[in-house]
Symmetry: D2
Subunit: 360 residues, 4 copies
């Protein structure tokens, strides 16, 4: 007799035990009934100690080596939640071990490396390999997509999107920034991806970006900023413009507007923590989510469930791995525009015409 | 060696497979990692057939008898989600079988019977018995409570609360109404409970209620209404007033305001489905949750998790069973005021001074 | 040759120079181009001194006697903005002098006296006599009325309305309360009037009210409260319920909801001063209008303009004087219910069946 | 004896009787008690006929020649509300006649001409000459400014502002566009001005712009677009970015956000006509102002009153005429960037380093 579906569990390991890695373990334990966490790994001593203590009664093996972890007996999938600089190599290693992989975006800070991951994944179609663009799993962004598909706003032609984080005074962000590829590659990439989500297949024609450092002077040496504005003109008369910030006072403030020929859809224009509003002498107020976790916790659970379901049912992953490549190309061009002050143009095939020496 | 915590599962059965029963099964399967659904029961042939088909690969035994179900081998807990008229007897039967019980509110449409359930539960303190007031598990209502406790609005003295449902043209509601005790016992009881939640220990002094039938003429024969307004004056200068409706055009519209000496807290004044807003020729609009399920799905998951955790950890249930008694008393008085047109008074001990012949 | 329309000015006097009287003068000077303020009066020495100084260059005669003021040469109209206890006698005196009158609501705290004013006005149809229910001139309330008339929400059957004022710690309110007839006659009368506005011709069937004193213990001796909740059942299955407060922490919070068979219209559910919202560490907030003046300044200007225009063009006044009588009757019944704790019933002609000894 | 202040009236004429000219006449008649409209002019036959009929009882002389109108006996001031191409010459002519002038923005589509107006005005300091930037008179924008001045958000460093108009299918907009200097000079100039209002004295460092034609193909021949996005980097690490549109489906949608080191101020993020919200089967909705008039009617009245008061009291005009020059320079650079696809840089003195051949 087949086992009860309540007993079917994909064995998964989580690589990286930073803030997000820990949350992914919790999501898998509490909200993904078809998964079982069998292993985690980290290279940070403090994280390893924490994990050995925390997970000792949970049947989770703690590794200090990714390579050893992926040899864990019976392992079927890995959630790569390490720093961006090792995303690609770890994803490739897992694929080569025959494991399914959910890799945090972006696949790489290097365009060529990212392409290599996609190629290898495409040669292993029996495995589910997906890059995590969490917003595509958010109920509101999906509702917006559904309404656009149903012609609620006509043909979309302008998109505004912002990713604004609460200011971080712990030093975490600056340490993190050193490895993430810069504002437009690490942070704005979500907004770029949303512009592709809502516009469909579009090719960049020109981009420009400016930025400023409002709070973190250390970023200067990293060639980065903590606030940036970027504009992408796509071929065909479509425009996307973005604002990214690491220094908001009030919390995590992510919103998107899609303007079409017959209307406009807005997602989360004024952020709020929950349904509570308070009226006091000082006025009427509500709280804001402190972090993207509070805003997108459900989206991460949906992402994990849909990824695991694609393994259980052997169906396509909900997001094509290739999706990340175009976002990355545009992110890099914006980052280059930011650094050089020049606008960067592309031809109608999407080939970059200006600059590009730095990276590609 | 102790089993991994990932393997610890409380065996639970769900009684009743109506709309809510089915949802509770799903919640338990997907969002309560410490529970395992081992059985369900119903007396409806169509529900039984549906369940046998739906759950056949899930290791869930389908019973057509509650009494047989609670004898299921290894069963530890029951979620009573049947119609109100059997809540009490099923809860008592489960307690007598040595099972933990999560019973949908209200415990009974009969005050004395409800008291009996509480008495029996209090004699079986090794078992976890709880009545489900789902709003007490909602993040927003809890945030409001926390802020009130932290003195954000001073001393609360007026509460407005409403429970307004989307109009139901399927006939379901009227059939359901026949067994539920009436508008103020079945529906308003959530709002009454919230007034006790935020006011703390208060005793009713007088109540009055009026109602109207806007859409469901069949309710006249059931001595009920589909829209009602009730006011409760509590001893000590506190006032709660309520609006309940079964006939809203736009969706599920549940909101609460707590007025204090230094401010006011509002929960969900303008209902919205998600973070999406659309601007079109006709104006700016957003969707509303169609049902309390969409509004309170997370609260039900929290409720289930906290109930199960109280069994696993042998800690007190999050809500005292006695809580439901005062709400029920006030609900009945409002219902009596509605039917008689009289105001109903109570003395300072909470003993009803007017009317009361009908039920108590 | 006829004078230019820019030179046509109705000569008007303002009786009473309290907060509202002063504002009415300002409204007339700045926003009513067809009016010219020729006189004001007060019995308060401080107000007289203030006015003599303030208005000395404005061609406005300051009187210490209402009777003398209405004999001012060329005077055509009076705006009665004194305390409620002299509204009726001053209105009658002005009518007898052949003057048009705009009288602040309510016409009187005494039902019989109010009726007398209406009778006298009806015998002088060449004069424009109107009681000021400012909300009926507010753009939002009018928009709501227009949408209801266009069937946006079907047949209205439940109305919720509240008039909540900012707490006043100056002692002004308590002094004022002594002459105003009580919470439901002075304050709730606006909400009662709105229920008549949106329901149309309805007759009360039963009312009940409760109240509490949250901040002003002196009100006990005045048989009044500073927070009250009242319910009115109208014949024909319509219900209105009200909340009035003098003790809000956050400002002037006036809102109204009209529930119909096909939808609900909300006016000003969450009050805000203007279009500004601020996001700070503590959350997202906006300011609230401190007083009804900031909320209804435009409505007062519209009211004054429409009243003056009815004189210039000899057209009917925008609001029938009789309107105030039914509101007053309901207000008194609610006040009586508040004091006695009894519900007050009416027959289908609107004749009061219970109580009534106190006043009528 | 001095005349009563109620009789003091500045004699003013309105040049241009298009949509705005008519509205200005109405504003002056109804909301500016210190002004008297003595003359109007137009070169459109239909407007002249309309005015002669409409104003015949109002003591307003109707001219078909601006030059004759400014010779009207006793005239003290002119409100220039003609098309942009004659703003400068008419303003100069009025100054030379010794008249005070309120001129609609922008002073000119030509930088040099605009400078000439400023020079001439500065040589006639006994006259009040002002360019109308209506948003600076809006209560919300002023409240935002006041809060920023009081340090509510720390140091502002990013501004987002948009001016989005309802789509116009009458052909009016395209005819109008032919004379207005283009999207960034005519429409975005308000947003540019707001960035200067909130940032204070800032110098542009670089700008870029892109645009698209969504509805009005005729604009191609005018070298213009109907939707445009522009970014301005100011020296000192400040950034402003703008979106202008002539093709919104839902109405007039003008909003502004100012991000500072300690918070963010938002003005009008979600536009709404009034305080009315409707809940219906399709969801919860509210209407939007159709035009800037409904949004800024009060601001125009304030502008007119403050301008007239500066004449009556011989005080400085509320806005310095020079203000418009910098906005115009930036607007032109954005327009050039739009047409050429190049980013335009400025040195630290604000001198344009790239392009500029077209106009300057």
């Amino acid at each position: 007799m087949a086992p009860s579906k309540q007993d079917v569990k994909i064995s998964i390991a989580v690589a990286g035990l930073g803030r997000m890695g820990k949350r992914h373990v919790r999501t898998l334990l509490n909200r993904v009934s078809e998964a079982q966490v069998v292993a985690v790994c980290s290279t940070e001593q403090s994280e390893l100690e924490w994990a050995r203590n925390e997970y000792k009664d949970w049947g989770i093996q703690v590794y200090d080596s990714y390579d050893q972890m992926i040899q864990h007996s019976g392992l079927q999938a890995v959630w790569v939640s390490t720093s961006t600089d090792v995303h690609a190599s770890q994803t490739i290693a897992a694929i080569e071990k025959g494991l399914n992989v959910l890799c945090e975006k972006p696949l790489s800070t290097d365009m060529e490396e990212a392409k290599r991951v996609v190629e290898i994944a495409n040669k292993n179609t029996h495995l589910k390999v997906m890059a995590g663009f969490s917003r595509r799993f958010d109920a509101s962004y999906r509702n917006a997509k559904a309404q656009i598909t149903e012609d609620a706003i006509g043909e979309p032609f302008v998109i505004r999107s912002q990713t604004c984080d609460l200011i971080d005074n712990t030093g975490f962000f600056v340490r993190y920034a050193a490895k993430n590829g810069g504002m437009f590659v690490d942070c704005c990439i979500h907004d770029i991806d949303l512009s592709l989500y809502y516009f469909g297949d579009v090719i960049p024609k020109a981009v420009w970006a400016v930025g400023t450092i409002a709070h973190h002077p250390e970023l200067k040496d990293l060639n980065d900023v903590d606030n940036g504005v970027g504009v992408v003109e796509y071929w065909g008369g479509k425009i996307a413009y973005f604002y990214c910030s690491r220094t908001q006072a009030h919390g995590h403030d992510v919103c998107t507007e899609v303007v079409g020929t017959k209307g406009k859809i807005m997602v989360n224009l004024v952020p709020r923590l929950d349904n509570v509003t308070v009226a006091q002498k000082i006025g009427v107020s509500h709280k804001v989510q402190p972090e993207y976790w509070e805003r997108f916790e459900d989206a991460f659970a949906t992402e994990a469930n849909e990824f695991i379901a694609s393994i259980v049912n052997n169906t396509p992953v909900p997001l094509k791995l290739e999706l990340g490549l175009m976002s990355l190309k545009i992110g890099w061009a914006l980052q280059e525009a930011l650094l050089t002050g020049e606008r960067i143009r592309f031809n109608e095939k999407g080939e970059q015409l200006d600059g590009g020496s730095a990276r590609l």
